[in-house]
């Protein structure tokens, strides 16, 4: 027979006003298994807790009911008190007779309140009788983090983690870290040169003793769970021995073949053996295998000949390395929508229609024109430039419905850069709304208009076409209600920001969610902005949606702080509310496996004595299971149950109803 103690709280007058607590306690005494019952003014007060502890000891209680406020309020308090009195904390259950009873039933006769409180307490008592002692789950934490994506968000996250004393690996798919920011010229709203503020961070990341860079690498496979991930990383063959390469650049210099530079968005060529840009980190070239005549046709090999340290190896192969880590930050960033999708703007057909990112390269001191604004068709300095905002953004029909958030700002920046570099040039901006909601952002746009003479026209452009070496822009100025035609020398499209190709495949490897545009979902857009639904995996930067550098950096730091707080203890404890499979009755139908929202259920091989697999059974991974119980309801043979909410417990409560 169980020995249960029942403690009914008066909460001053909060409960006692409409519930006869004494009567409730008295009634409970009559139930089988209840050996102690009383009511008390403030259960959560120190004397109240002491009374509880003493009663446990004096009456050798093996179960405790506190009928008081919501368990969301004091369940922890009372379970802790029980624990300190030597009782398993999960043998303590709360009945909610305040929020669910006294506060919502104002009957001063105490009839309804007392009846309901007694009912609820009885249900909890019956439930408690079926409780089993549970132990908190302890999970060891591997204190190493992986950051996927070495853009500014990823770099910031890695630096913060490393500064916190934790080892971190940056996995970057390109030959260099830096991401999109490496392409930018100057950055709003302060107009610092992008390279000037980014390069020091890149170098710091390279030199930091706690940071390992895996460039030219991608995630192959992710297993495990929070604190205990096992990640396979494919280190693509660079054909250059990273350890020995001195970065002298001799090989690049001598390579006889050139192809379009992706980094420069096709505006110039690069060698087949290359670094994406001069400040690349690490400063180790890679061979673009599909274009290398040695690798494809066994001709050439010049680079290997000129390389002093002899670090070129045409036979090098991809390597898979396996890393154990406790947390992962995803910071894979964005790409731009193909401009060709908008035939009316003529991108691809008309040479002098370029994208905003191409304009960044033109304006960049390290870009193809050395920072001079020259139009692609004939290299002339454009006397008039038309900027078209929302190209692909806010376009439900052919583009994406969302706003790309940064293009209003960078277009204003472009007009400034243009006016500083081309005196007497005229810029025009077609916009629908100016979205400059940030600190000093609106002022920035006003400056472009008032000081740098950008002519802002509220309207969209219908068509861009070529005539006599000019680019004709047919637009509207809806404020004056007129059509506008501009004979421009160059047109710049503020192209929509979209998610990376393959963002969905990576998300599937990580079991994190993404929206219909394949941007990753945060756990909660306001309150958990860098967490994902999968514990231990965090997000930072534009892989979540368009944002600017300040926001990307803030998120990198936020994600890093989450990782550091996770790593602040050697092991994590968590509530033991997890599912458990009955191996005798499980018939391997896998209904639970498909139902589980967290992929916490695995197929577990059962072997006979000879080590031969005889069957497969469902097995719950306690580290991953979040205790939702979906699997329990899914299992037709009742072979899986949820600790803390077992069928037995629930039925007992229902039966006491």
């Amino acid at each position: 027979m169980p020995r249960i103690g029942v403690f009914v709280c008066q909460c001053g007058n909060n409960i006692a006003a409409t519930v006869d607590t004494k009567k409730v306690a008295e009634e409970m005494k009559n139930l089988p298994g209840v050996v102690f019952a009383c009511d008390y003014k403030f259960m959560c007060s120190s004397p109240g807790q002491d009374m509880l502890k003493n009663a446990i000891k004096d009456n050798k209680l093996d179960g405790v009911i506190v009928s008081a406020c919501s368990p969301h309020m004091h369940e922890k308090t009372f379970r802790k008190a029980c624990e300190s009195a030597g009782l398993n904390p999960y043998q303590c259950e709360i009945t909610n007779i305040r929020e669910q009873c006294s506060w919502v039933h104002h009957d001063k006769t105490k009839k309804a309140g007392t009846l309901k409180s007694a009912d609820l307490t009885r249900m909890t008592i019956e439930r408690l009788k079926k409780n089993k002692p549970l132990a908190k789950i302890k999970i060891p934490v591997k204190k190493k983090a992986i950051v996927i994506g070495g853009g500014i968000a990823g770099i910031q996250a890695a630096l913060d983690i490393a500064e916190g004393g934790v080892d971190v690996i940056i996995v970057e798919k390109e030959p260099s870290i830096g991401g999109n920011m490496a392409r930018l010229s100057e950055t709003f709203p302060t107009m610092d040169c992008s390279q000037c503020i980014l390069t020091p961070k890149m170098v710091e990341a390279e030199l930091h003793e706690r940071i390992t860079l895996y460039t030219y690498s991608e995630i192959e496979k992710v297993d495990g769970y929070i604190g205990n991930f096992t990640v396979q990383i494919r280190r693509k063959s660079k054909y250059v021995d990273e350890e020995r390469c001195t970065g002298c650049g001799e090989c690049i210099e001598k390579c006889p073949f050139k192809v379009d530079s992706a980094f420069e968005l096709g505006m110039t060529k690069r060698k087949v053996i290359y670094t994406p840009f001069p400040q690349s980190v690490p400063n180790v070239p890679v061979i673009d295998a599909p274009n290398c005549t040695k690798i494809q046709k066994d001709k050439c090999g010049v680079c290997a000949i000129v390389c002093g340290p002899k670090c070129i190896d045409f036979k090098m192969e991809d390597k898979i390395v396996t890393v154990e880590a406790g947390a992962i930050i995803v910071a894979t960033g964005y790409q731009l929508m193909p401009n060709e999708r908008f035939g009316e703007y003529g991108y691809g057909r008309i040479k002098d229609v370029i994208s905003g990112m191409q304009f960044e390269r033109l304006a960049s001191a390290s870009g193809p024109t050395g920072g001079e604004i020259k139009r692609p068709s004939d290299g002339k300095v454009p006397r008039s430039v038309v900027f078209i905002q929302c190209a692909g953004s806010r376009d439900e029909k052919k583009g994406v419905s969302y706003c790309s958030k940064v293009c209003c700002m960078y277009t204003a920046k472009h007009t400034m850069l243009y006016s500083h570099k081309v005196h007497h040039g005229q810029s025009y901006v077609f916009y629908m709304d100016i979205r400059a909601g940030g600190k000093r952002y609106e002022e920035f746009v006003r400056r472009a208009i008032e000081h740098d003479n950008a002519m802002y026209l509220r309207g969209r452009v219908s068509r861009v076409y070529e005539r006599d070496g000019k680019v004709l822009v047919q637009g509207a100025d809806t404020l004056s209600g007129n059509q506008v035609e501009i004979e421009a020398d160059m047109v710049v499209l503020a192209t929509a920001i979209i998610s990376r190709d393959g963002a969905d495949t990576l998300a599937q490897k990580l079991s994190i969610g993404y929206d219909k545009y394949k941007f990753y979902n945060e756990y909660h857009p306001k309150l958990k902005p860098v967490e994902t639904v999968t514990a231990g995996i965090f997000l930072a930067g534009t892989c979540m949606g368009p944002m600017d550098i300040p926001d990307s950096v803030a998120q990198g730091s936020a994600a890093a702080s989450k990782v550091l707080s996770l790593f602040s203890a050697d092991e994590m404890t968590r509530e033991p509310i997890t599912a458990i499979v009955n191996k005798v009755t499980c018939n391997s139908c896998w209904d639970c496996l498909t139902a589980c929202p967290y992929s916490a259920i695995e197929r577990d091989a059962v072997k006979n004595r000879q080590g031969v697999i005889t069957k497969w059974l469902a097995k719950v991974n306690e580290g991953v299971c979040q205790g939702c119980g979906v699997c329990v309801a899914a299992c037709r043979s009742k072979s899986i149950d949820l600790r803390g909410y077992t069928d037995e417990q629930v039925f007992a409560a229902i039966n006491a109803f």
Binding site: S70, P71, H72, N96, R98, E99, Q100, C101, W103, V104, H105, H106, D107, K108, T109, K111, A112, G113, L115, K116, D119, L120, M123, G513, V533, I577, A595, P597, Y598, Q626, G627, C628, G629, V630, V632, A633, A634, L642, Y645, D647, V650, F651, A653, I654, N655, F657
Partner: protein, 153 residues
Amino acid sequence: MTEHTEQTESCGFEPKIMAFVCNWCTYAGADLAGTSRMEYRPNVRIIKLPCTGRIDPLFIIKAFENGADGVLVSGCHPGDCHYTTGNYHARRRWIGFKNLMEFTGIDMRRLHFSWVSASEAIKWVDLINGITDEIKKIGPFMEYKGLKEKASL
């Protein structure tokens, strides 16, 4: 005397209603009704579960067997599930489940499904009042009464 007790006295029949609610949304919503000192009919008894996805159809049948005149199932709004998709599972299951209930002779007016979020205290109050009043009108659920006793014989 409150409006409620007046009604009880005049009406006589006090239905018993069992509510299966999820811990994260509806339970918290009901708590909020409490902290806001709202008033509602005292006929409901809550059983807390982690998620509506945990709810087994048998729970509901058992509730009716144990004398419930009405049953409410309530959880997070679609898309807001604490466990990402648990409530979708629950919803999908209901479709097949409703037929089963009807088959076993339960008047579907006695079974309610709803979404109440942690901030929807008013919705919770309206829901409980609404259901209580409706079931008062329908009258007690007799079909299963005594089933339990019979079964235990």
